[in-house]
């Protein structure tokens, strides 16, 4: 099989250019791993601030991902299957948070959901509910920056879906929801998994919008990225240890998901 792969000549120099990209990514990550203080690795990890940040990050990013799937799928479906006035503008706006600096996202969230915000003021004045500084704020910040990734991948997947599959399902008597859940989504498994992975990864790494809107409160809004930044300030080696942990968690999840990807592709063969 190897000879087959190498017989067809690759574009000249492509390996070199590819190597440059690889090196620029590997080097900083490798540098972090190299400078992790392994001596007090476990004591750092098991400290209260570390464990609370880790659990908070896992909890909030998980909830964010679930919310993104439940709300993002319908939007992606609608964008792919329906025409309506100003559709391209609506689509562009839905994807905008991907392009905005996250801090700007945080400010936008404040203007909408802060105590003096468009919606937030109603919540505060009538129900005495303040969203900022709560775990919900952290989730909202992550959701805002991560859901566009989900929408973009899934809209593309819906557009490329084989309409004969949905056509067959509908004529066999399946109503639209059953067709979506039992036929469309299973046929888009690789894209769905990629969308979920991207969304979760973005939510996990979210910093700018969180610090601006949700604040930095250990146990409530101090997610791993905030804890790492705070650790840098505190001059303890927690930053390196926690960064390594983030890398390890993400790495394992992405590796695991890739197996599933390939499995789904192999099985979905036809």
């Amino acid at each position: 099989m190897t000879r087959q792969q190498h017989t067809l000549k690759a574009p000249t120099g492509i390996a070199l250019l590819a190597a440059v990209c690889g090196v620029v990514i590997f080097l900083p990550l490798g540098a972090v791993v190299a400078r992790v203080p392994w001596g007090h690795f476990w004591s750092t990890l098991s400290s209260e601030s570390s464990t609370s940040a880790m659990w908070l990050s896992l909890r909030t990013s998980f909830i964010t991902t679930v919310l993104a799937i439940v709300t993002g799928l319908p939007l992606a479906w609608t964008l792919a299957h329906r025409e309506f006035p100003l559709k391209s503008i609506v689509r562009a706006i839905c994807v905008l948070p991907m392009v905005l600096p996250p801090v700007v996202g945080g400010v936008a969230l404040l203007y909408a959901f802060g105590r003096r915000g468009v919606v937030g003021s109603i919540l505060y004045d009538w129900f005495n509910i303040q969203i900022a500084f709560t775990q919900s704020a952290a989730i909202l910040a992550q959701y805002f920056v991560a859901v566009p990734f989900f929408i973009v991948v899934m809209e593309s997947a819906f557009e490329q879906a084989d309409i004969r599959l949905t056509g067959a399902a509908r004529t066999l008597g399946a109503r639209p929801w059953r067709t979506l859940l039992h036929v469309s989504l299973p046929s888009m498994k690789p894209a769905l998994i990629a969308a979920i992975a991207l969304t979760w990864a973005r939510a996990l790494g979210e910093f700018g919008a969180t610090i601006t809107f949700a604040g930095n409160s250990p146990g409530r809004t101090q997610t791993l990225p905030l804890a790492i930044y705070g650790s840098l300030e505190n001059r303890d080696d927690g930053a390196l240890t926690l960064s390594f942990v983030m890398m390890a968690i993400s790495f394992s999840v992405l590796i695991l998901l890739r197996q599933r990807w390939l499995g789904a592709l192999r099985r979905g063969g036809v």
């Binding site: 056509g167 008597g173 399946a174």
Partner: protein, 223 residues
């Protein structure tokens, strides 16, 4: 039970005008150049596309009436469609594929699988129930596709180039099966095909799409 179609559809530059009648027991072959609208015609009958003007009526029941704003969804039309390479659900086994329509219409799982198993047997695919579509040959997949459609007892049967994606053996095998199916099928059959032998062997009537190409593609289908 007559299928009466006096329907036109516009899609961008493409305009298709259909004036077609099909009776029970009739096997109507639709022929014409590629891109003329043969598949579009089937999609209109199935309810996967809507008429821009005109109507589709079957057995007195209005499937589609553009002027009156009536449109019956595909799942309520009892129209079966078989595509070129089967369009089987890749994540389901042959048995689960066949049972799909039954379960979608409310049959309980156990009963649906039992009925599906019987259906598979009658198509000589009984031992392949647990196989996934990618493990089957083209001809076998078409058998499953036919079984899946027929088990729901559709009132109209549509076939979109059923043997085009098959090799010679698969083709012969499937043609034999189709002849058999057509003789026992009670409703009208619309068959889109390029294969002249197939049409000669199985069709009772032929409808051709005439195409005029200039700025717009205007196609007419009458029988």
């Amino acid at each position: 039970m007559t299928l009466r179609m006096t329907c036109s559809i516009d899609r961008g530059n493409f305009h298709l005008k259909i004036d077609l009648t099909a009776q029970d027991g009739e096997v109507l072959a639709i022929i014409g150049p590629n891109g003329a609208g043969k598949t579009t015609t089937l999609m209109l009958v199935a309810g996967l596309l809507a008429c821009s003007r005109g109507q589709i009526i079957h057995d007195g029941l209005v499937f589609d009436d553009a002027a009156e704003g009536v449109f019956v969804q595909p799942e309520n039309r009892h129209v079966g469609i078989v595509f070129q390479d089967g369009a089987l659900f890749a994540h389901l086994s042959a048995l689960q594929n066949v049972a799909f329509g039954l379960r979608a219409r409310g049959t309980k799982k156990r009963e649906a699988l039992a009925t599906a198993a019987i259906m598979l047997d009658s198509f000589d695919m009984g031992s392949y129930g647990a196989h996934l579509p990618h493990q089957l040959s083209g001809g076998q997949r078409q058998r499953i596709a036919l079984a899946r459609t027929l088990v729901t007892a559709p009132a109209i049967l549509l076939l979109d180039e059923p043997t085009a994606a098959l090799d010679t053996d698969g083709r012969d095998e499937t043609r034999g099966l189709l002849s058999h199916v057509f003789t026992s099928f009670s409703g009208p059959v619309l068959l889109v095909s390029h294969q002249t032998e197939e049409i000669n062997a199985m069709a009772t009537t032929i409808a051709r799409i005439d195409v005029q190409r200039d700025a717009n593609v205007v196609a007419t289908l009458t029988n």
